[in-house]
C-alpha cells in the first residue's frame, strides 16, 4: 500500500518525517570535524609503506640498511619480521587469507612489501625511497578466463592440496532444470555478455589509523577509519592474541566509506605492530595513489545471461553464469553463506519462477576485489544484468520498455513475494513508482520527441530502470560475518533532567546518524531532537554491532533504536501510573506523555517521568531509565524504485549528455526527507560515475592504469545532472518503524537507466549492449563503424 508518512510530532520535537537540520553539521562547516589524520598524539611516529612495482614477483631480498640511516627513521618492518610472530598472513572477512607483508612473493602491483616508521611524515617517505628490494618478475595473470584455463599457473599454491586451482569457489542458486526447461520452451530467448568493471569507492578521505600501545597497562587504542569497529576489535583480538577488553577501536569522523572502510588492510595491522614494537603511537595515512591501487575494489563480474520469454514479452525464465574476478585473495566482505553476495536477487522486480544462477570466484594478479561500492553485496551487478536484459527483450520484440516492465512486474497484492532463488520480498508497489516517474518526465512526450529527432538524424535515448534492492543484513539464521551474527544494537540512557544519550553499534560516515537516530527516539519518546545525543564508534562504550554498510543502519540499528525506546516507554508507563496513582492499564501515550484515558488533563510528561525515575520511582522497581536492544531482523528489507533517464549523444565526439534523470524511490517510511533526498542525490552520482566515467583497468603486466584522480574520473559538478527526485511510500511490514534503508538504492538503480538510454539511442544502428563505463571513445567507435561519425 502506498501511503504518506504521517507526522506524529511537532517540528520542535522533530520526530519522523521532519527535515531536521543536521546536528553534526556545525563542526563540519567550521572545519572542526575530527578525521583520522587530524589526530596527533604525544611522541607519535609516522608509518609509510614500500609497495611493489610488479604485479607478480619473487622477493629475492630486502635491504633496509640505507633506509635505517635516513634521519628520523626508527624502524623498518618486513615480512620476515612479521613471520616470527606469525603475523605475516591474516584472515580475510570471507574466510580466505591475505598477506600483511610478503615473505617470498608479491601478488599485485602496489602490494605492501615493507613498512618504514619515522619521526615525521616526510622522513618516513624518505625511508621508503631508500629501501632496496630485489624482485624477480613472474608471469602475470590479469584475465580471469585465462586463470581458469587448463594448465594455468596456480596463483595460490599456499592453499590446500585439493584446491590447487585458480577457481576459489563455485556457487549456485535456483533450479537449473527449471531454468533450462523455460529456455527450451521459450518463444524468445535473449543471450548477452555483460561485464561490470572493477571500480573503486574513492571516498575523498583515504584510509588510515593511529595505533597507540600502552605497554604499562597492556592496552591498545586503535583509532581508525572503520565502518565496522566492533568486528575489527574482535578480529584484532583473535589475530594478535591481545585480550579483547584491552583493545579499544575508536573511529572519529569518517570522510566517506561506501564499503571501502569495511576490510582490514595491511596498513592498519602494520601500524599496530609498529606501535607494539616502538612503544609509541604510530600513524598511518594512505595517499590517494595507494588508496586507488591497493585498497579493496568492487564489481569485476563477467556475466553471461540468458532470458526466456513468450512472444508477447512475458518473462518465463533466467539463467546466469558469472566469472567473478576477486584478485589474489577473496577479501570480499560478504556474509559467510553468500560468497557471491546477494547476486541471486537477480530476478529483480519481475514475476517469474524459473531461475538458475552460478558464479565462480577466480584468483588473478590484482588487489582484492569484491568489496561493495555503495551497494548491498552484489545487488548492483544483479540489477544491472536484469535491467539490461529486460530492455533488450523489449527492443527485440518491439514493445515499449515501460509497457513490458508493467506487464511483468510483481503486483502489489503478491507481497510477501517468494522469488525462485529463495528471497521473500517484504512489500512493494512497482507499477506506482514507474507510473509516477513516467508522469513526471512526460514519457509519452519524450517518445514523440525521440521519433522526431531520429527522423532528423539526431541521437536521443530514453532509459528505464525499475530496480529492487535487498538490504538490512540480516536475519541471524542466514547472515553472519566470520560467525558473528548480523544483528545490531542501540542503548538509550535517559538522564534525570530529561536529556538523552544513545549509543549504537553502527558507524556513520556521512549518513547523518547523529540526527536521524535522534529523530527515531524523538518519535518514540517525545524528547526533542536537540535533547538527544547519539554516539557511535567507541568499542569501549557502544553496544556491539556489525557496523554500517549494505544500507543496514536504519533497517537493523534503526529498529534496535525504536525497540529500545519502546522498552523505555513501557517502564515510563509504570512510573507514570505510580505518580498518577492509577493503574498502568488506564494510561495512554500521546505526544510525549502518559495520560489517564478519558482525563487528558491528568498526565505526566516523559521529562517528569525521567526525573521521577531517579527521585521517586515505585517501590520494587529498579531506579533509572535506560534500555538496550540487540535487534535480529526477521527478514531483509526490499527498497525499490523506478528511474527514467534521457540522454543526447553528440555524434561528433560520442559524448553522452544526461539531459534529465527522474528518480522515484520507495524506501518505506522516511525519517528525515531532507537527508533521504541527499542520500539519493549522492547515490545517483555514484551510479552515474561507473555508468559513464569510472573504471580501474590493468595492462597485461598487471599495472594499474587508473591509479590517480587524473586517470580515475570522479564526476564533478559539471558532469553531474540536476537530479529530479520523488517518492512513493510503501512501509516495510516487519520493521518497527516501517523503514527500509536508502543509502545505496540510487547507486544500484542508476547505471542501467543510463546504459539503457544510450542503447535506446543507438538501437536502430544494431547496438544491443555497451558495457559500462560508456565512454565517448566507445560510443564514437560505434558511430564511426556505422558511418555516422
Amino acid at each position: 500500500m502506498t501511503t504518506e508518512t504521517p507526522l506524529q510530532t511537532t517540528p520542535e520535537v522533530g520526530g519522523m518525517g521532519h527535515s531536521v537540520k543536521r546536528k553534526e553539521d556545525p563542526r563540519f562547516i567550521r572545519g572542526q570535524g575530527k578525521y583520522i589524520d587530524d589526530l596527533v598524539l604525544p611522541g607519535m611516529l609516522w608509518l609509510d609503506i614500500v609497495r611493489s612495482p610488479y604485479a607478480h614477483a619473487k622477493i629475492k631480498g630486502i635491504d633496509a640498511s640505507e633506509a635505517l640511516k635516513v634521519p628520523g627513521v626508527a624502524a623498518v618492518i618486513t615480512g620476515a619480521d612479521l613471520e616470527k610472530a606469525g603475523l605475516h598472513w591474516m584472515p580475510t572477512l570471507a574466510g580466505d587469507r591475505q598477506m600483511v607483508l610478503p615473505t617470498d612473493t608479491v601478488m599485485y602491483q602496489a602490494q605492501e612489501v615493507a613498512a618504514v616508521v619515522a619521526t615525521s611524515r616526510y622522513a618516513a617517505a624518505d625511508g621508503v625511497a631508500a629501501v632496496l628490494v630485489d624482485y624477480e618478475p613472474l608471469e602475470v595473470i590479469v584475465d580471469p578466463f585465462k586463470a581458469l584455463e587448463e594448465g594455468a599457473m596456480v596463483l595460490r599454491p599456499d592453499r590446500a592440496a585439493d584446491k590447487q586451482t585458480n577457481r576459489i569457489w563455485h556457487w549456485e542458486s535456483g533450479d537449473k532444470a527449471k531454468a533450462d526447461a523455460a529456455l527450451a520452451a521459450a518463444d524468445v530467448r535473449i543471450e548477452e555478455d555483460i561485464y561490470i568493471p572493477r571500480i573503486h569507492v574513492a571516498s575523498i578521505e583515504t584510509c588510515g589509523c593511529v595505533a597507540d600501545w600502552d605497554a604499562t597497562n597492556g592496552h591498545l587504542d586503535l583509532h581508525m577509519t572503520s565502518q565496522a569497529p566492533h568486528a575489527i576489535r574482535t578480529v584484532l583480538a583473535l589475530v594478535s592474541g591481545l585480550p579483547e577488553h584491552q583493545i579499544r577501536v575508536k573511529t572519529h569522523d569518517i570522510g566517506g566509506g561506501f564499503g571501502g572502510k569495511v576490510p582490514v588492510y595491511p596498513g592498519y595491522v602494520l601500524a599496530v605492530v609498529a606501535s607494539l614494537t616502538t612503544g609509541k603511537p604510530v600513524k598511518w595515512i594512505e595517499d590517494r595513489s595507494e588508496n586507488l591501487q591497493a585498497d579493496s575494489f568492487a564489481r569485476d563480474y563477467h556475466i553471461h545471461a540468458e532470458l526466456a520469454a513468450t512472444k508477447e514479452g512475458k518473462i518465463t525464465g533466467l539463467k546466469v553464469r558469472t566469472i567473478a574476478d576477486h584478485g589474489y585473495t577473496d577479501a570480499a566482505a560478504d556474509p559467510s553463506k553468500f560468497p557471491a553476495g546477494l547476486f541471486n536477487v537477480i530476478t529483480g522486480s519481475y514475476d517469474f519462477q524459473n531461475c538458475f544462477v552460478e558464479v565462480d570466484g577466480v584468483y588473478t594478479n590484482k588487489p582484492p576485489g569484491g568489496v561493495a561500492y555503495r551497494c548491498s553485496f552484489r545487488v548492483t551487478e544483479a540489477v544491472h544484468a536484469i535491467e539490461r536484459m529486460v530492455d533488450i527483450l523489449a527492443h527485440d520484440i518491439g514493445k515499449d520498455p515501460a509497457q513490458l516492465r508493467m506487464e511483468n512486474f510483481i503486483q502489489p497484492e503478491q507481497f510477501p513475494y517468494k522469488t525462485p532463488t529463495g528471497w521473500s520480498y517484504d512489500s512493494g508497489n512497482y507499477p506506482a513508482a514507474l507510473q509516477k516517474a513516467m508522469d513526471i518526465i512526460d514519457y509519452a512526450g519524450l517518445r514523440k520527441e525521440q521519433a522526431e529527432k531520429l527522423a532528423k538524424g539526431e541521437l536521443m535515448g530514453i532509459g528505464i530502470s525499475s530496480f529492487t534492492e535487498i538490504v538490512g543484513a540480516g536475519p541471524s539464521h542466514d547472515f553472519d560475518i566470520l560467525g558473528i551474527k548480523m544483528f545490531d544494537s542501540c542503548e538509550i540512557r535517559v538522564h534525570p533532567t530529561g536529556k538523552v544519550i544513545a549509543r549504537l553499534g553502527v558507524q556513520s560516515q556521512g549518513q547523518g546518524h547523529e540526527t536521524t537516530f535522534a529523530q527515531i527516539i524523538a518519535e518514540e519518546l517525545g524528547f526533542p531532537v536537540a535533547d538527544i545525543k547519539i554516539e557511535e564508534g567507541d568499542t569501549d562504550t557502544a553496544p556491539y554491532g556489525l557496523g554500517t554498510y549494505a544500507s543496514r543502519s536504519t533497517p537493523v540499528a534503526g529498529a534496535a533504536t525504536a525497540i529500545a525506546a519502546r522498552k523505555i516507554k513501557e517502564k515510563a508507563r509504570h512510573i507514570a501510573a505510580h505518580l498518577l496513582e492509577c493503574s498502568a492499564d488506564d494510561l495512554e501515550w500521546t505526544n510525549g506523555k502518559w495520560s489517564v484515558k478519558g482525563s487528558p488533563d491528568r498526565f505526566k510528561t516523559i521529562q517528569e517521568i525521567a526525573f521521577a525515575a531517579y527521585t521517586n520511582h515505585p517501590a520494587g522497581m529498579e531506579a533509572g531509565l535506560e534500555a538496550v536492544d540487540y535487534y535480529d531482523p526477521p527478514n531483509l528489507t526490499f527498497p525499490f524504485g523506478s528511474y527514467i533517464c534521457v540522454v543526447d549523444i553528440d555524434k561528433g565526439t560520442g559524448e553522452v549528455h544526461v539531459r534529465r534523470f527522474v528518480a522515484i524511490d520507495d524506501c518505506g517510511n522516511i525519517i528525515n526527507p531532507m537527508i533521504v533526498d541527499g542520500q539519493i542525490h549522492g547515490g545517483l552520482t555514484m551510479g552515474l560515475a561507473p555508468a559513464l566515467y569510472e573504471q580501474i583497468t590493468y595492462d597485461e603486466q598487471g599495472n594499474n592504469l587508473a591509479g590517480t584522480f587524473m586517470d580515475y574520473l570522479l564526476p564533478t559538478a559539471v558532469e553531474t545532472p540536476a537530479w529530479e527526485v520523488g517518492k512513493t511510500t510503501t512501509p516495510s511490514p516487519h520493521h518497527p518503524i516501517g523503514a527500509k534503508g536508502v543509502g545505496e538504492s540510487a547507486t544500484v538503480g542508476a547505471p542501467p537507466a543510463i546504459a539503457n538510454a544510450v542503447v535506446d539511442a543507438l538501437w536502430h544502428l544494431g547496438v544491443r549492449n555497451i558495457d559500462i563505463p560508456i565512454t565517448p571513445q566507445k560510443v564514437w567507435a560505434i558511430l564511426h563503424e556505422k558511418g555516422i561519425s
Binding site: 521532519h18 567550521r30 561506501f258 533526498d677 539519493i680 542525490h681 552520482t685
Partner: protein, 182 residues
Amino acid sequence: MTTQHVAMTVNGEKREADVEPRLLLVHLLRDVFLLTGTHIGCDTSNCGACTVHVNGQSAKSCTMLAVQADGAEIKTIEGMADGAKLHPLQQAFWDQHGLQCGFCTPGMIMQAAWFLGENPDPSETEIRAGIAGNLCRCTGYVNIVKSIQQVAGTLAEGASAPVVAAATTEGQAVSAEPAAAG
C-alpha cells in the same frame, strides 16, 4: 635537511615557522599550525579538499610549497566565521544540507567564497563550473549548488545571507535549531 624561515598571516594572525623547503603548504597549515580544517584528498590537485585563500586567491594548498607562501595572507576555513556568527556560506551549507561526510566541505566553502567574489550572482551552470575543481563523493552536488545559490547575490552588498529554509523536493522545511541570523 636545511630549513628556511617563513612568516605569514593566517586568518589574521602572524605565524612563523622554520620549514624544510619541500614542505607543502597544506602540511604547514595542518601539521605545524594545527589548522586541520583544511583536508587532503588526493595528490594531484583534482579534489580541492585542501583549498584555501592565498592573498585573496583560491589555491590548492597541496600544490604549493610553504616557502612560496612566505609573506602571504592566508585564509582557511577556520577563519571564515566571525566568532559565533557563521559566514553566510557556512550557514547556507547547513541550511541546504550541502554536506554529508563533511570532508570536502571546507575546500568547497573556500572555493565558493572566492568564486562568489569573482562572480557575485552566477547562474547554476556558472556555479557548477566554479566548483569543478572540488570533488564531493556524498552529495551529488545538488545541495552544494543550492547552498551557493542561497548566498549568491548577497555578498557583494556586504549583506548577510537571507534566511532560506532547507528545501527538499517533497520534504518540508523545518529546523530544530535556532533560526539563522537574518
